[in-house]
Symmetry: C2
Subunit: 207 residues, 2 copies
Protein backbone atom coordinates (compact mmCIF):
# COMPACT_ATOMS: atom_id res chain seq x y z
CA UNK A 1 0.00 0.00 0.00
CA UNK A 2 1.50 3.35 -1.06
CA UNK A 3 0.42 6.31 1.07
CA UNK A 4 1.21 9.95 0.30
CA UNK A 5 0.70 12.93 2.64
CA UNK A 6 0.96 16.26 0.78
CA UNK A 7 1.51 19.34 2.92
CA UNK A 8 2.39 22.96 2.30
CA UNK A 9 6.13 22.41 1.88
CA UNK A 10 6.69 18.63 1.56
CA UNK A 11 5.12 15.48 0.14
CA UNK A 12 5.81 12.40 2.30
CA UNK A 13 5.43 8.78 1.20
CA UNK A 14 5.08 5.54 3.11
CA UNK A 15 5.41 2.34 1.11
CA UNK A 16 4.91 -0.55 3.51
CA UNK A 17 7.58 0.34 6.10
CA UNK A 18 9.65 2.56 3.83
CA UNK A 19 9.42 6.31 4.23
CA UNK A 20 10.64 9.00 1.87
CA UNK A 21 9.78 12.63 1.20
CA UNK A 22 10.31 15.34 -1.39
CA UNK A 23 9.72 19.08 -1.68
CA UNK A 24 6.50 20.30 -3.30
CA UNK A 25 8.60 21.54 -6.25
CA UNK A 26 9.91 18.00 -6.77
CA UNK A 27 6.45 16.55 -6.30
CA UNK A 28 5.18 18.66 -9.22
CA UNK A 29 7.26 16.40 -11.52
CA UNK A 30 6.41 13.14 -9.75
CA UNK A 31 4.45 10.56 -11.73
CA UNK A 32 2.98 7.62 -9.77
CA UNK A 33 3.57 4.11 -11.11
CA UNK A 34 1.10 2.43 -8.76
CA UNK A 35 -2.13 3.18 -6.92
CA UNK A 36 -1.34 5.96 -4.40
CA UNK A 37 -3.70 6.82 -1.58
CA UNK A 38 -3.16 10.48 -0.79
CA UNK A 39 -4.29 13.30 1.42
CA UNK A 40 -3.56 16.88 0.35
CA UNK A 41 -3.90 20.28 2.03
CA UNK A 42 -2.16 22.22 -0.73
CA UNK A 43 -4.81 24.08 -2.78
CA UNK A 44 -2.42 24.48 -5.74
CA UNK A 45 -2.10 20.73 -6.31
CA UNK A 46 -5.74 19.61 -6.21
CA UNK A 47 -6.30 19.83 -9.99
CA UNK A 48 -3.11 18.00 -10.86
CA UNK A 49 -3.91 15.12 -8.50
CA UNK A 50 -7.43 14.71 -9.88
CA UNK A 51 -6.09 14.26 -13.40
CA UNK A 52 -4.23 11.02 -12.68
CA UNK A 53 -6.41 8.00 -11.82
CA UNK A 54 -3.53 6.35 -9.91
CA UNK A 55 -3.91 9.09 -7.29
CA UNK A 56 -6.79 8.20 -4.95
CA UNK A 57 -7.97 10.95 -2.63
CA UNK A 58 -8.55 9.47 0.82
CA UNK A 59 -10.29 12.58 2.20
CA UNK A 60 -13.89 11.31 1.61
CA UNK A 61 -13.16 8.04 3.44
CA UNK A 62 -12.50 9.32 6.95
CA UNK A 63 -15.50 8.70 9.19
CA UNK A 64 -14.58 11.36 11.75
CA UNK A 65 -16.84 12.85 14.41
CA UNK A 66 -16.36 16.64 14.57
CA UNK A 67 -18.37 19.85 14.32
CA UNK A 68 -15.24 21.82 13.25
CA UNK A 69 -15.81 23.54 9.88
CA UNK A 70 -13.42 22.49 7.11
CA UNK A 71 -10.99 20.67 9.39
CA UNK A 72 -7.82 19.95 7.38
CA UNK A 73 -7.62 16.33 6.23
CA UNK A 74 -4.07 16.08 7.65
CA UNK A 75 -5.43 16.95 11.09
CA UNK A 76 -8.25 14.41 10.66
CA UNK A 77 -5.74 11.72 9.67
CA UNK A 78 -3.44 12.53 12.62
CA UNK A 79 -6.38 12.19 15.04
CA UNK A 80 -7.98 9.20 13.34
CA UNK A 81 -6.33 6.45 15.39
CA UNK A 82 -6.56 8.31 18.74
CA UNK A 83 -9.50 7.59 21.06
CA UNK A 84 -8.51 10.00 23.84
CA UNK A 85 -5.71 12.51 23.78
CA UNK A 86 -4.25 15.69 22.40
CA UNK A 87 -2.65 15.47 18.94
CA UNK A 88 0.08 17.98 18.07
CA UNK A 89 1.34 18.14 14.48
CA UNK A 90 4.35 20.46 14.52
CA UNK A 91 5.25 21.31 10.93
CA UNK A 92 5.09 24.57 8.98
CA UNK A 93 2.17 25.33 11.31
CA UNK A 94 1.56 23.71 14.69
CA UNK A 95 -1.95 22.26 14.88
CA UNK A 96 -3.34 20.97 18.16
CA UNK A 97 -6.51 18.85 18.31
CA UNK A 98 -8.32 17.46 21.31
CA UNK A 99 -10.06 14.06 21.13
CA UNK A 100 -12.29 12.49 23.76
CA UNK A 101 -14.08 9.13 23.26
CA UNK A 102 -13.19 9.32 19.56
CA UNK A 103 -14.98 12.67 19.30
CA UNK A 104 -13.03 15.74 18.15
CA UNK A 105 -13.63 18.51 20.70
CA UNK A 106 -11.92 21.24 18.66
CA UNK A 107 -8.43 22.51 18.10
CA UNK A 108 -6.16 25.44 17.51
CA UNK A 109 -3.26 26.58 15.35
CA UNK A 110 0.07 28.28 16.05
CA UNK A 111 2.84 29.22 13.61
CA UNK A 112 5.52 26.55 13.13
CA UNK A 113 8.86 27.08 14.89
CA UNK A 114 10.57 28.06 11.62
CA UNK A 115 7.81 30.57 11.05
CA UNK A 116 8.37 32.23 14.46
CA UNK A 117 12.05 32.59 13.55
CA UNK A 118 11.17 34.20 10.22
CA UNK A 119 8.78 36.61 11.99
CA UNK A 120 11.52 37.85 14.28
CA UNK A 121 13.95 38.33 11.39
CA UNK A 122 11.40 40.34 9.45
CA UNK A 123 10.60 42.54 12.48
CA UNK A 124 14.25 43.56 12.97
CA UNK A 125 17.71 42.38 11.95
CA UNK A 126 18.49 42.60 15.70
CA UNK A 127 16.09 39.69 16.28
CA UNK A 128 17.73 37.36 13.74
CA UNK A 129 18.80 34.34 15.79
CA UNK A 130 18.71 30.59 15.85
CA UNK A 131 16.60 29.58 18.85
CA UNK A 132 18.17 28.07 21.97
CA UNK A 133 16.71 24.57 22.21
CA UNK A 134 18.16 24.18 25.73
CA UNK A 135 16.23 27.16 27.09
CA UNK A 136 15.39 27.03 30.81
CA UNK A 137 11.72 27.82 31.54
CA UNK A 138 12.42 28.47 35.24
CA UNK A 139 14.54 31.62 34.92
CA UNK A 140 13.74 34.88 33.13
CA UNK A 141 16.00 35.32 30.07
CA UNK A 142 18.96 37.69 30.22
CA UNK A 143 19.90 37.96 26.53
CA UNK A 144 18.06 38.28 23.20
CA UNK A 145 18.50 34.69 21.97
CA UNK A 146 17.02 33.38 25.23
CA UNK A 147 14.27 36.01 25.27
CA UNK A 148 13.13 34.85 21.81
CA UNK A 149 13.48 31.13 22.64
CA UNK A 150 11.61 31.48 25.94
CA UNK A 151 8.85 33.47 24.20
CA UNK A 152 8.37 30.91 21.44
CA UNK A 153 8.86 27.61 23.26
CA UNK A 154 7.22 28.46 26.58
CA UNK A 155 4.15 30.05 24.94
CA UNK A 156 3.71 26.92 22.80
CA UNK A 157 4.33 24.69 25.85
CA UNK A 158 1.85 26.51 28.11
CA UNK A 159 -0.94 26.49 25.53
CA UNK A 160 -0.53 22.77 24.79
CA UNK A 161 -0.34 21.98 28.52
CA UNK A 162 -3.45 24.09 29.16
CA UNK A 163 -5.42 22.12 26.56
CA UNK A 164 -4.23 18.71 27.75
CA UNK A 165 -5.35 18.52 31.41
CA UNK A 166 -4.61 14.87 32.13
CA UNK A 167 -4.92 13.65 28.54
CA UNK A 168 -2.17 11.80 26.73
CA UNK A 169 -0.12 13.91 24.33
CA UNK A 170 0.72 12.62 20.84
CA UNK A 171 3.28 14.54 18.78
CA UNK A 172 4.08 14.22 15.11
CA UNK A 173 5.63 16.44 12.38
CA UNK A 174 9.14 17.79 11.83
CA UNK A 175 9.37 19.57 15.19
CA UNK A 176 7.22 17.01 17.02
CA UNK A 177 10.06 15.14 18.67
CA UNK A 178 11.66 18.34 19.92
CA UNK A 179 8.40 19.73 21.38
CA UNK A 180 7.53 16.36 22.97
CA UNK A 181 10.69 16.70 25.08
CA UNK A 182 9.15 19.60 27.03
CA UNK A 183 6.53 17.25 28.48
CA UNK A 184 6.97 14.48 31.05
CA UNK A 185 4.54 12.10 29.37
CA UNK A 186 4.35 12.53 25.63
CA UNK A 187 4.43 10.13 22.72
CA UNK A 188 6.22 11.02 19.51
CA UNK A 189 4.97 9.11 16.48
CA UNK A 190 6.53 10.12 13.18
CA UNK A 191 3.92 8.09 11.30
CA UNK A 192 0.76 9.20 13.12
CA UNK A 193 -0.82 10.65 9.95
CA UNK A 194 0.07 7.53 7.94
CA UNK A 195 -1.50 5.35 10.66
CA UNK A 196 -4.73 7.33 10.27
CA UNK A 197 -4.56 7.02 6.48
CA UNK A 198 -3.95 3.28 6.72
CA UNK A 199 -6.98 2.90 9.00
CA UNK A 200 -9.15 4.78 6.46
CA UNK A 201 -7.85 2.56 3.64
CA UNK A 202 -8.52 -0.62 5.62
CA UNK A 203 -12.05 0.47 6.56
CA UNK A 204 -13.00 1.34 2.98
CA UNK A 205 -11.00 -0.57 0.40
CA UNK A 206 -10.35 -4.21 -0.40
CA UNK A 207 -6.68 -4.12 -1.31
CA UNK B 1 10.52 69.22 25.97
CA UNK B 2 10.37 67.28 22.69
CA UNK B 3 10.71 63.51 23.03
CA UNK B 4 11.04 61.07 20.13
CA UNK B 5 10.79 57.26 20.30
CA UNK B 6 12.07 55.60 17.10
CA UNK B 7 11.03 52.00 16.56
CA UNK B 8 11.21 49.51 13.72
CA UNK B 9 8.17 50.81 11.85
CA UNK B 10 7.22 54.17 13.43
CA UNK B 11 8.74 57.27 15.01
CA UNK B 12 6.56 58.75 17.78
CA UNK B 13 6.84 62.24 19.21
CA UNK B 14 5.61 63.79 22.44
CA UNK B 15 5.79 67.58 22.68
CA UNK B 16 4.55 68.53 26.16
CA UNK B 17 1.12 66.81 26.03
CA UNK B 18 0.88 66.59 22.25
CA UNK B 19 1.50 63.25 20.57
CA UNK B 20 2.10 62.52 16.91
CA UNK B 21 3.79 59.81 14.91
CA UNK B 22 5.12 59.10 11.43
CA UNK B 23 6.38 56.10 9.49
CA UNK B 24 10.13 55.46 9.38
CA UNK B 25 10.05 56.40 5.67
CA UNK B 26 8.61 59.80 6.58
CA UNK B 27 11.06 60.16 9.46
CA UNK B 28 13.97 59.83 7.01
CA UNK B 29 13.00 63.28 5.67
CA UNK B 30 12.29 64.83 9.06
CA UNK B 31 14.52 67.71 10.17
CA UNK B 32 14.28 68.80 13.82
CA UNK B 33 13.86 72.52 14.55
CA UNK B 34 14.46 72.20 18.28
CA UNK B 35 16.39 70.03 20.74
CA UNK B 36 14.91 66.50 20.46
CA UNK B 37 15.63 63.86 23.08
CA UNK B 38 15.36 60.53 21.31
CA UNK B 39 15.70 56.80 21.83
CA UNK B 40 16.21 54.60 18.77
CA UNK B 41 16.22 50.82 18.20
CA UNK B 42 16.46 51.04 14.42
CA UNK B 43 20.04 50.21 13.41
CA UNK B 44 19.62 51.88 9.99
CA UNK B 45 19.00 55.33 11.51
CA UNK B 46 21.85 55.58 14.02
CA UNK B 47 24.27 57.36 11.67
CA UNK B 48 21.72 59.87 10.46
CA UNK B 49 20.71 60.83 14.01
CA UNK B 50 24.30 61.32 15.11
CA UNK B 51 24.87 63.86 12.32
CA UNK B 52 22.40 66.42 13.65
CA UNK B 53 23.30 68.06 17.00
CA UNK B 54 19.62 68.85 17.72
CA UNK B 55 19.08 65.10 18.15
CA UNK B 56 20.19 64.07 21.65
CA UNK B 57 20.46 60.36 22.27
CA UNK B 58 18.95 59.57 25.69
CA UNK B 59 20.26 55.99 25.79
CA UNK B 60 23.37 56.75 27.91
CA UNK B 61 21.30 58.56 30.56
CA UNK B 62 19.17 55.69 31.86
CA UNK B 63 20.45 54.45 35.19
CA UNK B 64 18.83 51.02 34.98
CA UNK B 65 19.64 47.96 37.08
CA UNK B 66 19.80 44.86 34.86
CA UNK B 67 22.15 42.02 33.95
CA UNK B 68 20.36 41.54 30.58
CA UNK B 69 22.85 41.89 27.69
CA UNK B 70 22.07 44.66 25.20
CA UNK B 71 18.55 45.31 26.48
CA UNK B 72 16.77 47.52 23.92
CA UNK B 73 16.58 51.15 25.05
CA UNK B 74 12.83 51.19 24.33
CA UNK B 75 12.37 48.35 26.84
CA UNK B 76 14.54 50.19 29.38
CA UNK B 77 12.48 53.37 28.91
CA UNK B 78 9.19 51.47 29.26
CA UNK B 79 10.38 49.92 32.55
CA UNK B 80 12.09 53.02 33.88
CA UNK B 81 9.19 54.43 35.92
CA UNK B 82 8.00 51.05 37.24
CA UNK B 83 9.18 49.85 40.66
CA UNK B 84 7.34 46.52 40.70
CA UNK B 85 5.44 44.97 37.86
CA UNK B 86 5.42 43.36 34.45
CA UNK B 87 5.80 45.70 31.46
CA UNK B 88 4.34 44.58 28.12
CA UNK B 89 5.12 46.64 25.01
CA UNK B 90 2.94 45.22 22.24
CA UNK B 91 4.14 46.65 18.95
CA UNK B 92 5.81 45.02 15.93
CA UNK B 93 7.23 42.62 18.54
CA UNK B 94 5.76 41.99 22.00
CA UNK B 95 8.40 42.51 24.69
CA UNK B 96 7.69 41.51 28.29
CA UNK B 97 9.95 42.65 31.15
CA UNK B 98 9.73 41.82 34.83
CA UNK B 99 10.71 44.43 37.46
CA UNK B 100 11.01 43.89 41.19
CA UNK B 101 12.20 46.60 43.60
CA UNK B 102 13.36 48.65 40.59
CA UNK B 103 15.58 45.75 39.48
CA UNK B 104 15.01 44.20 36.06
CA UNK B 105 14.68 40.43 36.54
CA UNK B 106 14.73 39.56 32.82
CA UNK B 107 12.29 39.44 29.97
CA UNK B 108 11.15 37.74 26.83
CA UNK B 109 9.96 38.48 23.29
CA UNK B 110 7.08 37.27 21.14
CA UNK B 111 6.14 38.29 17.60
CA UNK B 112 3.67 41.18 17.40
CA UNK B 113 0.05 40.36 16.56
CA UNK B 114 0.42 41.64 12.98
CA UNK B 115 3.46 39.42 12.64
CA UNK B 116 1.52 36.29 13.70
CA UNK B 117 -1.07 37.11 11.03
CA UNK B 118 1.64 37.47 8.39
CA UNK B 119 3.16 34.13 9.46
CA UNK B 120 -0.10 32.31 8.92
CA UNK B 121 -0.62 33.90 5.51
CA UNK B 122 2.87 32.90 4.40
CA UNK B 123 2.37 29.30 5.61
CA UNK B 124 -0.78 28.81 3.53
CA UNK B 125 -3.39 30.91 1.75
CA UNK B 126 -5.91 28.80 3.72
CA UNK B 127 -4.66 30.47 6.91
CA UNK B 128 -5.15 34.04 5.67
CA UNK B 129 -7.60 35.58 8.15
CA UNK B 130 -8.19 38.61 10.29
CA UNK B 131 -8.09 37.42 13.90
CA UNK B 132 -11.26 37.21 16.01
CA UNK B 133 -10.73 39.70 18.84
CA UNK B 134 -13.80 38.33 20.64
CA UNK B 135 -12.36 34.81 20.91
CA UNK B 136 -13.55 32.74 23.88
CA UNK B 137 -10.69 31.09 25.79
CA UNK B 138 -13.04 28.63 27.54
CA UNK B 139 -14.17 26.58 24.52
CA UNK B 140 -12.03 24.78 21.96
CA UNK B 141 -12.31 26.47 18.54
CA UNK B 142 -14.50 24.93 15.83
CA UNK B 143 -13.37 26.89 12.75
CA UNK B 144 -10.08 28.16 11.30
CA UNK B 145 -10.43 31.84 12.22
CA UNK B 146 -11.06 30.89 15.85
CA UNK B 147 -8.30 28.25 15.84
CA UNK B 148 -5.78 30.91 14.75
CA UNK B 149 -7.11 33.55 17.15
CA UNK B 150 -7.15 31.14 20.12
CA UNK B 151 -3.59 30.02 19.27
CA UNK B 152 -2.22 33.54 19.08
CA UNK B 153 -4.11 35.33 21.85
CA UNK B 154 -4.26 32.53 24.40
CA UNK B 155 -0.57 31.62 24.01
CA UNK B 156 0.37 35.28 24.54
CA UNK B 157 -2.07 35.54 27.47
CA UNK B 158 -0.82 32.40 29.22
CA UNK B 159 2.84 33.36 28.94
CA UNK B 160 2.25 36.89 30.28
CA UNK B 161 0.06 35.50 33.09
CA UNK B 162 2.72 32.92 33.95
CA UNK B 163 5.37 35.63 34.31
CA UNK B 164 3.19 37.97 36.35
CA UNK B 165 2.23 35.93 39.44
CA UNK B 166 0.64 38.65 41.57
CA UNK B 167 2.53 41.55 40.01
CA UNK B 168 0.81 44.52 38.42
CA UNK B 169 0.65 44.46 34.62
CA UNK B 170 1.49 47.56 32.58
CA UNK B 171 0.70 47.55 28.86
CA UNK B 172 1.83 49.96 26.18
CA UNK B 173 2.27 49.89 22.37
CA UNK B 174 -0.19 49.70 19.50
CA UNK B 175 -1.79 46.42 20.64
CA UNK B 176 -1.32 47.15 24.35
CA UNK B 177 -4.87 48.26 25.03
CA UNK B 178 -6.33 45.22 23.29
CA UNK B 179 -4.08 42.74 25.16
CA UNK B 180 -4.72 44.48 28.50
CA UNK B 181 -8.40 43.56 28.11
CA UNK B 182 -7.59 39.87 28.60
CA UNK B 183 -6.51 40.56 32.19
CA UNK B 184 -8.64 41.48 35.17
CA UNK B 185 -6.15 43.95 36.60
CA UNK B 186 -4.01 45.62 33.98
CA UNK B 187 -3.01 49.20 33.32
CA UNK B 188 -2.75 50.53 29.78
CA UNK B 189 -0.47 53.54 29.43
CA UNK B 190 0.05 54.78 25.89
CA UNK B 191 2.88 57.05 27.09
CA UNK B 192 4.82 54.62 29.29
CA UNK B 193 7.99 54.90 27.19
CA UNK B 194 7.74 58.70 27.11
CA UNK B 195 7.32 58.74 30.91
CA UNK B 196 10.57 56.79 31.21
CA UNK B 197 12.30 59.15 28.77
CA UNK B 198 11.04 62.18 30.68
CA UNK B 199 12.37 60.72 33.92
CA UNK B 200 15.81 60.23 32.32
CA UNK B 201 15.78 63.80 31.00
CA UNK B 202 14.81 65.21 34.39
CA UNK B 203 17.48 63.19 36.21
CA UNK B 204 20.25 64.31 33.86
CA UNK B 205 19.54 67.63 32.19
CA UNK B 206 18.76 71.13 33.37
CA UNK B 207 16.12 72.12 30.87
Amino acid sequence: MLLCDIGNTTASFLNEQKFHSMSIEQFLHYEPTQKTFYINVNPNLEQRLKQNPLFINLAPYFNFDTIYSNLGVDRIAACYTIEDGVVVDAGSAITVDIISNSIHLGGFILPGIESYKKSFTSISSRLKYELNTQINFDAFPQRTIDALSYGVFKSIYLLIKDSAYDKKLYFTGGDGQFLANFFDYAIYDKFLIFRGMKKAVCENFIL
